[in-house]
Symmetry: C2
Subunit: 330 residues, 2 copies
DNA sequence: CTACAGCGTGCAACCGTTTGCATAATTAAT
DNA sequence: ATTAATTATGCAAACGGTTGCACGCTGTAG
């Protein structure tokens, strides 16, 4: 029913293998033959069956992007979706498809099935999947971790932004603006990137360390901030683990009539589009998610094609200075 | 090298076709045989090659989700990413993969290639792809449009939320709260869903119609709001086309010292997680994006499996009442 | 006891490409 | 002009499953 390579071959008066070679452009073909084949393909509106190609070539022509999202919010987080945009772009340029798979919704190994059933030629994985057992079964199958794994850091292949350096910058900036007592707000400490941000905070902070844990929601950040802001010697500045924490904090400051940035300075990680619409606009440690996605995809393709070994790529972060950290010089 | 169905068959002492039947569970197999086959599969750590399966069965085992995103923002918009989460969930339950493809980054028909090269068994499309030419080539290939197409509305298959009804609800709510002059703020009118929201606004609004166009950004909404709020007889309430418009509007109100909700009432479409963290928290026309994704995926699978005809599904929206529309009863 | 239905399994063709090897055609070298 | 080297194309065997058809076996009915 569907038009196959054989139909094209017959019409062009050549063998199907020749048609295949024309399509793939690997071999040298007489210009005349090539033109006849192209003409036949056009005439028949031929589209190669990618399934058959994949089987014969052993390449699925797809990469998999795995995410562990228990709810839709995690899925729509900017880190993931913006990276995905860039990944798709790189893949498309190479004629590759992008398969997304949520590892959190299925108990049976998503990664294993994508890999062993030949559904993808390579994988982009979240750091939480990096565990000795999985790395064992992954073997030398091409993959890149998007983020820094908690374990096996030097034996795995990953791309991440430098969270530690980002937090250092944030603290240094706040100090320069004249804030004295800087606290760290937000984030389950369980998460690797949070740990690294906290380490950066600790590196750069010279006064008392105040680390305020939250469950990751704005609500909880608000509650925690309300408590700490009413204490005797409260901090006068905060580095927030993400924008959501900053939103909760802002709300608390407002309710307690503590002016930002005059009495309280704020710097937050992650650049939500609305960060600059907050009152006041938030100073941000900006993460170049597009670059992160692009780099990870490109590294993955290098591994798929050249079989290069593990590599680690660390991108630096950027401070976007807005009103929330601009203490008036006194 | 890889272990195939034949290796399993040999070890289990049966023919490979039997193994195939065991895997697919379509035919009746003696329990004893079945057990032997399973044992052999386990022993050899057999994973069926999905590429070969696809070729033989003619089904790729994947659905495609197409999006037209020129920049990363569009990609990470909540509508898309939340629906995607639900779509993936439905697909995974059926053993299907989800391929995402950005139609905006390639001139050569993304849809056509996914379809004709057998890369997917069905497609979820954005309304902007619905054009007579494309529908022609799509023929009876299974697809579902996520949103209401501008044209061919009754001849295509789509799932959408009822934007018109949502806007009506918003206006009625504001009237009930005592606001007199309600304006509509935001959105390029070009977009179909914006047009439908405006129509709803017009249906329910009984005083002068004030429709304020923006380019979709918060900045522009702010500028437009600043202008209109300084006029002689300014509106005392706004229905905003999305949260971004509401953010710009809020900023303008704040600068002009117009208290919300006392002097100005606001209802906005789309429920960003931060909407309730604004000052004041925003009243929202909530769109159940998860349900939208789920319904579209399920409809798609119905089309893939049963070849049911075109269907249109319209989901209703929900008003989430918060402080921004709570005018004090006078 | 024979006949027929129905279940379980094997055989082999087929899905539409790719690709190693062989061969024919062309070009270059002597 | 003859031979060697190179290039262009054909042949046929994979790739790893699925599936229609045929056949043997078991069980029930006549």
């Amino acid at each position: 029913m569907a038009v196959t390579i054989h139909d094209v071959a017959k019409l062009a008066g050549v063998n199907s293998s020749t048609v295949s070679r024309v399509i793939n452009g690997k071999a040298t073909i007489t210009p005349d033959t090539k033109e006849r084949v192209y003409a036949a393909m056009r005439e028949l509106d031929y589209h190669p069956n990618s399934l058959a190609r994949s089987l014969a070539s052993g390449l699925s022509g797809a990469i998999g992007v795995v995410v562990n999202a228990r709810d839709a919010e995690a899925f729509s987080n900017f880190f993931f979706s913006r990276s995905l945009f860039a990944i798709e772009k790189v893949a498309q340029a190479r004629g590759y498809q992008v398969i997304i798979a949520n590892g959190a919704q299925s108990r049976d190994g998503t990664v294993e099935s994508l890999m062993k059933e030949h559904k993808v030629d390579g994988l982009i994985l979240p750091p939480t999947t990096v565990k000795p057992a999985l790395m064992e079964t992954i073997g030398d199958f091409p993959y890149v971790v998007l983020g820094t794994p908690d374990t096996l850091r030097s034996e795995t292949c990953w791309v991440d932004n430098n969270n530690e350096q980002g937090a250092e910058m944030a603290v240094q900036h706040l100090k320069k603006m004249g804030y004295q007592q800087i606290a760290y707000l937000g984030g389950y400490q369980k998460r690797g990137f949070t740990k690294r941000r906290i380490r950066g905070y600790q590196n750069a902070n010279e006064s008392t360390e105040i680390i305020l844990n939250t469950d990751g929601t704005s609500e909880n950040a608000y509650t925690v901030a309300m408590a700490v802001l009413q204490k005797e010697n409260r901090p006068d500045a905060f580095v927030c683990n993400d924008n959501l924490a900053a939103f909760g904090l802002l709300k608390a400051c407002k309710e307690l009539h503590l002016p930002v940035p005059k009495d309280i300075g704020i710097v937050a990680f992650d650049n939500y589009p609305l960060a600059e619409y907050m009152d006041p606009p938030l100073t941000i440690v900006d993460i170049d998610t597009a670059m992160l996605g692009e780099q990870s995809a490109q590294l993955l393709f290098r591994r798929i094609e050249n079989k290069v070994g593990n590599q680690q790529i660390m991108l630096s972060t950027n401070l976007v200075i807005r009103a929330s950290s601009e203490k008036k010089a006194k």
